[in-house]
Amino acid sequence: MEVNSLSIIVAGSGGAGAISTGTLLLNAAGLGGWYAYLTRSVGAQIRGGEAVAQLRISRERLASHDDHFHVLLALDWKNLGKFASEMPLAANGLIIGDPDQGEAPSEFLASGARLAWLPMKQLAQTIPGGRPNMVAMGVLAGLLGLPHPLLDTVLEKELAHKGATALAASRAAVKLGLEAIASLPPIARLAAPQMSTEPRWTITGNQATGLGAIRGGVRFVAAYPITPATEVLEWMAPALEEVGGVLVQVEDELAAINQIIGASYGGTPSLTATAGPGLALMTESIGLAVASETPIVVVDVMRGGPSTGIPAKSEQADLNIALYGLHGDAPHLVLAANSVQDCIFTTQWAVHLAETLQAPAIVLSDQALGQTRAVIDRPPETIFSTKRLTAEPPATGAKYRRYTVTETGVSPMAIPGTPGCQYTADGLEHSETAVPSSLAVDHQRQLDKRERKLGCYDYGDAWADVEGDGTLALITWGSCTGAAREAARIWREEGRQIKLVSLRLLAPTQPDKFASLLDGVQHALVIEQTHSRQFLRYLQAHYPLPSQVECLNRPGPLPIRSSEILGKLAKWK
């Protein structure tokens, strides 16, 4: 049987090389012309905990994982059985274990998948310096039907720095794995790829976020390491040097947010990246950016919460704090990326909006986007004419009014160094001339101004992705969009219509635009990865919804899968 996509899992304890095997296979598939999508899941231990690479390879573009995996290859089992619910296997699937690593956990066998044994450790030991994960790479490449020369190319590219001996050992181990599949039961055959004329990219969501920031003009980053956002920073540190920018690792998130406010006050577009705990620490100063009208971008790569929560696994439950976490009436921008590739556009757009509107923008990504690596078509270059409205030296005798009330709400911002415009940016309420004021009239005027500048701006079509048509709609956001797209595709393949709405701009809300795109929709399914239905409550508070609305929600870390969405839709067939 030939299929359009195959999904596999490589698992092992941390340090066994499961994630590298997955990454090498993704690169080989990408070079061969397939699309690929690799998520990683790691336990709480830095080394020795369970590490799982989930890889889907397809001839079509990919939005998410499939519902089931066709192959689970375990280098060892350790605690893997406990996490079986995160690795659903197809009934005709194949489990490959190593007889030296003990019995396969019953949780996996319950799926009905066939069990096969391969002595990967013993095979690896026949080669000096051979590693079981490289044997596994050969086994899986063989099952996926990836051409052998591609594997050589990828090994050469990724392992050459380890030296000729190590490279030769890896090649030999891969070859042993390829030969070993003769003893395994067959699986479905992956359809041949559609080659593209332009070379494709391999990128993670966190790298894409960094690239979007640099495309948008960010040249200063201050940040504190935190899972799962750290890779944004690790990619940006050398990348910023390349374009004349700077990244500073700081003492805590309070320093991070305030350093970027200081840098932006000085005229440099600035960003920080964090996760929920860091965002919680930053909220006071995000309010300072609102009041002082200082443009900044804060990326929150969400993980399970509250408190330390589940640091390395995904959830969308920071929606409320991003929308409502600031004290006082504090209008700000909240955006959400809805695919790995979209992390580029959404972050770039956030920089553009923050700079244009002199306001803070929070960009919500999550672990499922940030730590997923995908093979994508070369992303288009988006050109925004991003330029902050700055003040020129005033005519002699004229007083510069930093917070002057304008029709758009945006007032020219003087950059230090500009003669005659000296002012004190302030978190205290202030008059138009930036003098602290507790007068009711100044408070009202400045609140109106700050609300108007975000409210009056035309955000165009990018505020939401709208795909398809019909009286039935899926309404979602962020990483859940992937499974929703997959479900909508299958639904349409069955000859039915469905509209998919994925909101990219969450604040300020766009009630008129929302009403018009839901015109004619009678049934809607809201999809989100939170426990308390934060997104549904947000929609109910701000938007007119059809009379029949259902919600498919679940907290992390289990992703919502397209089959569950289709199951919910079944009654509206």
């Binding site: 990408g30 640099i214 201050a222 309070l254 350093q259 100063s285 003669p419």
Partner: protein, 290 residues
């Protein structure tokens, strides 16, 4: 040129007619919220005198502060100012100076802002040694919230209803901590000696790296006994210690009332990350091609 106290003659600095800026050039005209008799008035005067001595263009100077009585100072000056949230003046100033090394960046605030809520940033600003001048107006009390104990308050001070038996906690030693953490210039001054304060501020601004100037600045409203500081401070006989062990001993043995001299001057170069702009975003993007 190395400044010496003898050759500065700051008293005349506001009247050198050939120069474009006098001390009034650095005042905004906004009336301070400070109580009559507050030491901070004198700090404002010394600061504007120091800026006039240095003849810095007001638009090339930025003064960053947090929250508290003394943190109101930026609005009273005519330089660029940033009045942020409580305790975060140092990070704001750090981000500004790293991205705008052309500016002279000053930071001002009180003992609560700098040593309590902002204490962690104080340690790391000393470590990082960015070219900033940190002016701390220390009155050993939270004035803006009407008189609570601060990190530098004596443990037996019973003037606050919040700590009726005193704090019972050892006072913070800001200059000892600054020295241990890596500050490059350390001085203690008294607001009641404004000419001396202006001289020290000039040198602090001129010295590369992170300069800490602690100023004993009385709060006559909530610590009226501080009016007697003019009798209890001692002008130091010598200063300019460049040996860190000597400076450490001197700071450790001092009762906190020795003022008027530079207590430590280090030679560490200021932290200023360099980034050669090759400007090639396409090179970055090629890194993603399979």
């Amino acid at each position: 040129m190395e400044m010496t106290i003898q050759n500065m003659q700051l008293a005349q600095c506001g009247s050198r007619s050939a120069e474009p800026y006098d001390s009034d050039s650095y005042l905004s005209g906004v009336k301070p919220i400070w109580c009559p008799g507050c030491g901070d008035y004198s700090v404002l005067t010394s600061l504007t005198n120091a800026l006039a001595y240095l003849q810095l263009s007001p638009e090339q100077v930025a003064l960053v502060s947090g929250i508290g009585c003394s943190s109101r100072i930026p609005a009273y000056t005519s330089v660029y100012g940033f009045h942020g949230v409580h305790g975060r003046a140092l990070p704001v100033a750090t981000g500004l100076k790293i991205t705008r090394p052309d500016l002279t960046v000053l930071v001002a605030g009180g003992d609560g802002d700098g040593f309590s809520i902002g204490g962690n940033h104080f340690l790391h600003a000393c470590r990082r040694n960015v070219d900033l001048t940190y002016i701390i107006m220390d009155n050993q009390v939270y004035g803006m919230t009407k008189g609570q104990a601060s990190p530098t308050t004596a443990p037996d001070w019973q003037g606050s209803e919040l700590t009726p038996h005193g704090t019972g906690v050892n006072p913070f030693q800001p200059l000892v901590i600054a020295l241990a953490s890596g500050a490059n210039f350390i001085a203690r001054c008294f607001s009641g000696e404004p000419a001396n304060l202006a001289e020290i501020l000039v040198q602090a601004i001129q010295h590369p790296g992170f300069s800490v100037v602690q100023i004993l600045s009385p709060c006559v409203t909530f610590r009226p006994e501080q009016r007697q500081w003019k009798n209890s401070v001692r002008m130091a006989e010598s200063g300019l210690d460049t040996d860190i062990r000597t400076a450490a001993r001197r700071l450790m043995e001092d009762d906190g009332m020795t003022v008027g001299q530079i207590l430590y001057k280090g030679k560490r170069p200021a932290y200023q990350p360099q980034s050669a702009s090759r400007g090639d975003i396409h090179k970055l993007e090629r890194g993603f091609v399979l």
